[in-house]
Subunit: 329 residues, 4 copies
Amino acid sequence: MQCVRVWRELRPLCRAQLSAWASTRTQSQAAGTRLDLSGIYPPIATPFTAEEEVDYQKLEGNLKKYAQIPFRGLVVQGSNGEYPYLTEEERVEVVRTVRRSLPGDKLLMAGSGCESTRATVQLTEKMAAAGADVVLVVTPCFYKGKMDSRALIQHFTKVADSSPVPVVLYSVPANTGLDLPLDAVVTLSQHPNIHGLKDSGGDISRIGLIVHKTKSQDFQVLAGSAGFLMAAYCVGAVGGVCALANVLGREVCELERLCVSGRWEEARVLQQRLIEPNAAVTRKLGVPALKQAMEWFGFHGGACRSPLQPLSEAEALQLKRDFSTNGWL
Amino acid sequence: MQCVRVWRELRPLCRAQLSAWASTRTQSQAAGTRLDLSGIYPPIATPFTAEEEVDYQKLEGNLKKYAQIPFRGLVVQGSNGEYPYLTEEERVEVVRTVRRSLPGDKLLMAGSGCESTRATVQLTEKMAAAGADVVLVVTPCFYKGKMDSRALIQHFTKVADSSPVPVVLYSVPANTGLDLPLDAVVTLSQHPNIHGLKDSGGDISRIGLIVHKTKSQDFQVLAGSAGFLMAAYCVGAVGGVCALANVLGREVCELERLCVSGRWEEARVLQQRLIEPNAAVTRKLGVPALKQAMEWFGFHGGACRSPLQPLSEAEALQLKRDFSTNGWL
Amino acid sequence: MQCVRVWRELRPLCRAQLSAWASTRTQSQAAGTRLDLSGIYPPIATPFTAEEEVDYQKLEGNLKKYAQIPFRGLVVQGSNGEYPYLTEEERVEVVRTVRRSLPGDKLLMAGSGCESTRATVQLTEKMAAAGADVVLVVTPCFYKGKMDSRALIQHFTKVADSSPVPVVLYSVPANTGLDLPLDAVVTLSQHPNIHGLKDSGGDISRIGLIVHKTKSQDFQVLAGSAGFLMAAYCVGAVGGVCALANVLGREVCELERLCVSGRWEEARVLQQRLIEPNAAVTRKLGVPALKQAMEWFGFHGGACRSPLQPLSEAEALQLKRDFSTNGWL
Amino acid sequence: MQCVRVWRELRPLCRAQLSAWASTRTQSQAAGTRLDLSGIYPPIATPFTAEEEVDYQKLEGNLKKYAQIPFRGLVVQGSNGEYPYLTEEERVEVVRTVRRSLPGDKLLMAGSGCESTRATVQLTEKMAAAGADVVLVVTPCFYKGKMDSRALIQHFTKVADSSPVPVVLYSVPANTGLDLPLDAVVTLSQHPNIHGLKDSGGDISRIGLIVHKTKSQDFQVLAGSAGFLMAAYCVGAVGGVCALANVLGREVCELERLCVSGRWEEARVLQQRLIEPNAAVTRKLGVPALKQAMEWFGFHGGACRSPLQPLSEAEALQLKRDFSTNGWL
């Protein structure tokens, strides 16, 4: 009923808008410029020095290793990149650094979401100028009680209208306390410059329904976690942005390959072994655990910026167990 | 960490218990009595007369129609059966009635969960005596703050110890406000008389992990909704208890067949068309909607017991739309 | 907006109903039969034997002690009475037992809420016949998604229409996952047989607003916990149903006296010392803690029915600390 | 138990720290520099031009009017100031502007909370340099799963250690999805530069307990809303930061006066009339409603920055009704 009401209010606006979008889309599709997002992306972590400065050297060290893994690209400043702890200058500089190292066939998807629309518009432009191929725009969330479909559709429309590069929507309720409403996703999927959604909520019925209801838009859904990656492929997602890919990148890409080639039995065995370590580096123990596990697997992790704390001893043991009982350590 | 603590407290108890269980299990498995739960079950609705009495005649009418659909069996008094609104006598009598009609090769799974352990033990016995092949035991939930793994393991162990028939655990957080904790499921999966779990929460990573961690127990997971049925099969579930199967029974069984035979592309198309009507008759509009949709598809639905109210006109329209836009009406 | 919609649907019904109620009320008020609920009530615990049978003897032992405390009455089968673990026969028998012991000037308020309207109507009659002066009717909650104002107004209206004794509404979201909506309370406050509300949610703005919006109805609000008793008096409540009164009955009555006589400074000092022990025997450690604390203060507590477990050693220590650091042990 | 664990880990740290704090405190208290925070503060709104630029002229217009109301001071960049939508430069410039207008006997409390500790430390210094008498520091919240007592105690301790002006903690779960844990508040209350807490959660038992457990620290609690202002005074708070004071400033100050002078009966009548308009401009309809109501009462409100949307017609009607039915319009 909520949807119905919103739609009624938006209808006059939307009719005009959608037909404008539609014509643009036809052109861009005719020109073959629709971006293929399918594949696996690690949402890379940001290494810091002992003084909590961004450690660009260590970052480049990680990038070299990632270059050897068949990723579709990298997400810079997803939730695991501690982006809320970076200044705007740092956010842009990290993207610039990644751009320099990234092979030309890999996509650079940069997080450019801010709380206000105007700040998001501006950061989106800077990210594009710094070399982002795509921007990933998280839902604003501080005034969560007011972030209904009407407000979110306006926000993302303004951002996408002005963005020089394609936009991917980003819903991550564990951090924002807010799920981008389904009806907003469906409406926004019709915008010619909104190419997809990263959904980290993990409600698999919702993901299946989004694929179903945006079928005619060539709209692409990326799973926001390795924990439900296989299930997401199963209902129609085209890839994943997976924190665990920072640690077990080859394995996550192997899971992708098995799903895409329809080898579901093998995929299931691998998927099941990834759930527990994935939960450990995300929901259960967070970014400090992700960075700790990166160290074990040959990457630069290190400490987080404060107020994120290092793992306690008990947490580190738990983390180790979640990898070892599944045969990864 | 919660799990660890609970396990420490339970370890002395469990060592002894588990080895006792283990020996029983070996015997029962040797004897080939392990029950195969795989397949689709509608959790049948309870029809009422205009005076809100159980309408056994209409119930039998529905049973005749269900007999022609390739269900594995029926669930009597799952959440959709309005069991909290039935007296104990009615609950047993409904099971007795279903038993009389049900073909011998179909399973009768009867809900026997109550708030107290003693009441659950007693009703479980009555259900078995009335002809249930299996009992489905929901988590007690009124004192949710105290229903931790320790309490729930004790509860289900006592019930399973004394039950004359196999037990299936039942976790349905939308109604109970409580998710049966993963560590409790894993511990309970080792009980020789606990054969599986109906999980209605829909967290697909959790379902995959439960399958993974109970692999050695021949423990069977049933999806508690048609909305995530395909995804559940994909990560290792063996069947589903699906409200929607009361309405679109053949279609849900067809989805099962496609999943089981590995025809995932066809399965996906069908699954996607089932999500929205499924949501309408469960989470969105509830049992009154399920019963309304049953009427449209040739079954007896009718009114619910009070305080459940009939659908408003707007809700009925919404329901119709959710079926028609997916091509079912 | 929700309220507005509901009201529109209910208006035709309600106009007629309210005017009917109004005339009844006038008569009953003219006849001076409006019940004064003001004061403190312990929601008494139910003692069990080692075999988990109701221990009527120990119950009577407690009643004798309570008789010496200036309570307004007793609540039999509030949440702390483990009523969801009692059979209907036990529920009625406990009320009968209390009636026999209770001095004539004390009120007996008996919980008669069930999930279905018809069961609630029947149990209400039995409770009245067993000697209840008032019934306390909890919100049905299993189908929480459907328990909107429309359903709840219908439910409580039917119960109140047929109840031989006055009805008090009961909202306890920690157990039911459901807050009786404000607009439903306001509508129901106009029913001549609904005399008040026990609100255990503790949202003090809501309590103040309920008092404000039912001012013309002589509707009485009882705080459902000693943790916010003083604040509730401050915004217009007339009493409290407080688990802690089972343990520190005199002290809770003393707090009432200080509030009622406007000695707020002294009240504040006492109130502050009661918050932590109150939290311990309710939200934090639950009924097992309440019963343990009762033992320390000379009452019969004992074990709970399964699945409620006895306190662990660590929990018992925590409980003791929460009483001793506030000077009660 | 959580608290116990945290405390154990923190004990070595804290012993040293607390004794260091203790000596500082003695000095500062001896020197009589402890800041008296008691009284009412409007958390002022930020007016914008049609182009969404900060409208400093309208801001000064409002300040002139506020100067005639007996506020204790102003909160600049609480949640109602749309601070997450301002750049750092704007945040500081707004404080500078307020400082110029504010009479010398009024406190300027400036929000300086950011997600990272280092950004909060820096902004705190800038706010002090711009003329803030006190800073209000909100809990970081993006990584809510990791913001436990350990992390938050470290964060606030570092900020308070380096802040040139007194610090007030700020807990606002409706926006942050996070309640500053009680044990963290109690520990932090012992820091000589942390003078109080603004609690917008509204759990009155918690507020009473915080007052009780920090009694020896001269720690001051401010209610974060006019909806529970009287109840908060009643359990020991010393003032309030109330969105509604932007609209009905004199009335909120009158409520303060009645509470402080013990005229509880009159206070109750006034408090009850303020709950509904307060809810309308906060939880129910948010900052756009606050700004709309400001217009009705002679202040500059105007539009919010995007993505906050203007009220719909229905919402504006609802807002008007919530003021008029309580006699304010």
